[in-house]
């Protein structure tokens, strides 16, 4: 039994890392621009589909490098044309607009690539287990964890040591002052959005390797991402990371004892956090 629990904790961390990747992108966008991006799942799907299309030309690694960038470019365009107009308005409107966008993305991917599940294969050397006993530690899952770790580290390095990062961090605290100090806030928001979508695209490529690639691949992942953000604390990126890992592990452990509740448990956790400590585990008081 303890072995089973241990397996599931490990596994939960792996899945949690994936949730964290997705939630981080959402969190970035939410913190700086106050935009609730319900289309995040759609961007994830686009990332996966672009990777699928690119693999025959540039191979798996090329697709992994390129697809998120292309997705980010689409994200930047979307921000420029649509989302920009909603700044300063009630977050409800960005929610509804991105809700509509999510519809368009789902239908668009279905229209372009078809409704059938596409056979996305990862390189063989990644896809096999590393040991017979710990068979669930497949190369692919470990690769996912490593990739997420690299991405998260890169993100934190970017935010801490680059000028763009400093501006983003300052902007989440007080955008008005940042603007007064001479920073072009428009471009800042635009790039920040692109960064968030880059993470979504990356998550999409990873997801396509693990799940079946079809137009609704992102829609079930969007709510858990919000849950991760709330549990970790709105406004806190480390919180989001922690939130993602927590819900992954919780879900995994609950699966051992009571599989029917394995998805409900993350909402129960979120409910408890909101009732007891609304700002989340690592969030700041009065942030939103």
């Amino acid at each position: 039994m303890t072995q089973l629990i241990l397996f599931n904790v490990f596994n939960g961390l792996i899945i949690g890392a994936f949730y964290a990747l997705m939630a981080l992108g959402l969190s970035l966008i939410l913190n700086l621009s106050g935009v609730i991006n319900f289309a995040h799942g759609g961007f994830l799907a686009i990332g996966g589909y672009l990777a699928f299309t690119l693999i025959p030309y540039v191979g798996f690694w090329g697709a992994l490098a390129l697809a998120p960038v292309l997705t980010a470019i689409i994200g930047i365009l979307v921000e420029r044309v649509l989302i920009r107009r909603l700044y300063g308005r009630d977050p409800l409107y960005s929610l509804l607009l991105t809700f509509g966008l999510a519809f368009i993305f789902e239908d668009g991917t279905r229209y372009i690539w078809g409704p059938q599940t596409l056979p996305f294969s990862v390189p063989d050397y990644l896809a096999s287990p590393l040991s017979s006993d710990y068979f669930f530690l497949t190369g692919y899952r470990l690769f996912m964890v490593v990739l997420v770790a690299v991405a998260v580290t890169a993100l934190f390095l970017l935010l801490t040591y680059t000028r763009l990062g400093a501006r983003i961090r300052a902007g989440t605290l007080d955008l008005e002052t940042v603007s007064v100090l001479g920073v072009n806030v428009r471009i800042l928001r635009n790039l920040n959005f692109g960064l968030g979508i880059y993470l979504a695209g990356l998550a999409g490529v990873l997801a396509a390797g693990m799940l079946g690639l079809q137009p609704t691949i992102g829609s079930d992942l969007i709510m858990p991402s919000f849950v991760a953000i709330i549990i970790g604390g709105l406004g806190s990126l480390p919180g989001t990371l922690l939130g993602g890992l927590l819900i992954g592990v919780a879900s995994g452990v609950v699966t051992v004892f009571y599989p029917s509740a394995s998805e409900a448990v993350i909402y129960i956790m979120m409910g408890l956090v909101l009732l007891v400590r609304p700002r989340g585990l690592l969030g700041e008081e009065g942030r939103f």
Partner: protein, 317 residues
């Protein structure tokens, strides 16, 4: 015409249209159950708007009480008492009780936190309905039952076979709900809600017990949304976990915004547009999701006050 006359005229027009809907809808290429569906969802959207548009509080989990109403009605008819009216009553009671309890827990939160906690509870109910297969039918839904003719002693109203009869039953429930909500909004209680919506802090400084008002507004809106849910189950002869999911809640919010959050009849217009548009476009093309999505985007960008927001250029309410 001054403002009050205009309002009365609008009300009269709406009621005339609703009373005669089965007759003109079919001529326009609709069908009676489409009209019933519009009414039921309009009731849900208007109930949500009681909280959203008039109290200023966003709930993204109203589908939970909608669904509880649906399952309450369905399970009553299937397992307990084969009576439509009892089913409706039980559905409303179940939804309201849950809302009352949950309301006390969440009423101190605001903004996005309130919205997310309503999602949390909503999803928990969704998963209960989804997994508790033996009772709720799980993913297969609660089937094998139907709305039963109403036996009023002196006459029997066949709401099962006769679509028009069912439409008028829905209309009666709708009318009762709407009358109560309108009366509340015009009362001092309603005025207080508007004050809370406009500036909560100031309302609190004036000594208004804000949390209690919000709780009551929440309760009223959930009573009627569970009524809508019960009627929805009767409309379909089916109850479905999907009725509890967050995207169903999202649909109600969209209907309210589409029609105009700040106006009383706005959500009715929004529901009508949403349902009819989707019904029409999905018959024409499989890519209807793109059109609907595009429609949302355009409405949010260019008509954020909704249809009725355009129609009335004057200050809200």
């Amino acid at each position: 015409m001054n403002a009050i006359n205009k309002r009365v005229a609008a009300d009269v027009l709406v009621w005339i249209l609703l009373l005669t809907m089965p007759y003109w809808l079919n001529g326009l290429g609709g069908y009676t159950s489409l009209g019933s569906r519009v009414l039921v969802l309009a009731l849900a959207a208007m109930s949500l708007n009681f909280l959203l548009g008039f109290t200023g509080v966003l709930s993204f989990g109203h589908a939970a009480y909608f669904g509880l109403g649906a399952y309450g009605a369905g399970m009553t008819i299937k397992y307990l008492v084969p009576s439509t009216l009892t089913g409706i009553a039980v559905g409303v009671i179940v939804g309201t009780t849950a809302a009352a309890i949950i309301g006390t827990l969440i009423v101190r939160l605001r903004g996005i936190y309130f919205a997310m906690v309503t999602i949390a509870f909503g999803q928990v109910f969704y998963y209960i309905a989804f997994r508790w297969n033996s009772v709720t039918g799980g993913d297969d839904g609660l089937s094998g039952w139907q709305r039963l003719p109403i036996d009023l002693g002196f006459t029997r109203i066949d709401i099962l076979g006769n679509d028009k009869a069912f439409y008028y039953l829905v209309l009666v429930c709708f009318a009762i709900a709407v009358a109560i909500m309108a009366a509340l909004l015009r009362s001092p209680f309603g005025r207080t809600l508007l004050a809370i919506r406009e500036n909560e802090r100031r309302a609190r400084f004036l000594g208004i017990p804000v949390d209690r008002h919000i709780w009551f507004s929440w309760l009223i809106s959930c009573v009627f949304v569970s009524l809508a849910g019960a009627l929805y189950a009767l409309l379909n002869n089916f109850a479905d976990p999907h009725n509890l999911r967050w995207d169903q809640s999202g649909d109600f919010v969209i209907m309210a915004v589409l029609g105009g959050m700040r106006s009383f009849w706005g959500p009715l217009i929004g529901a009508a547009i949403f349902v009819v548009l989707q019904d029409y476009v999905s018959s024409q093309t499989d890519n209807w999701m793109s059109f609907i999505g595009l429609f949302f985007v355009l409405v949010v960008l260019f008509f954020p006050r909704g249809v009725l927001g355009l129609v009335r250029r004057s200050a809200p309410s």
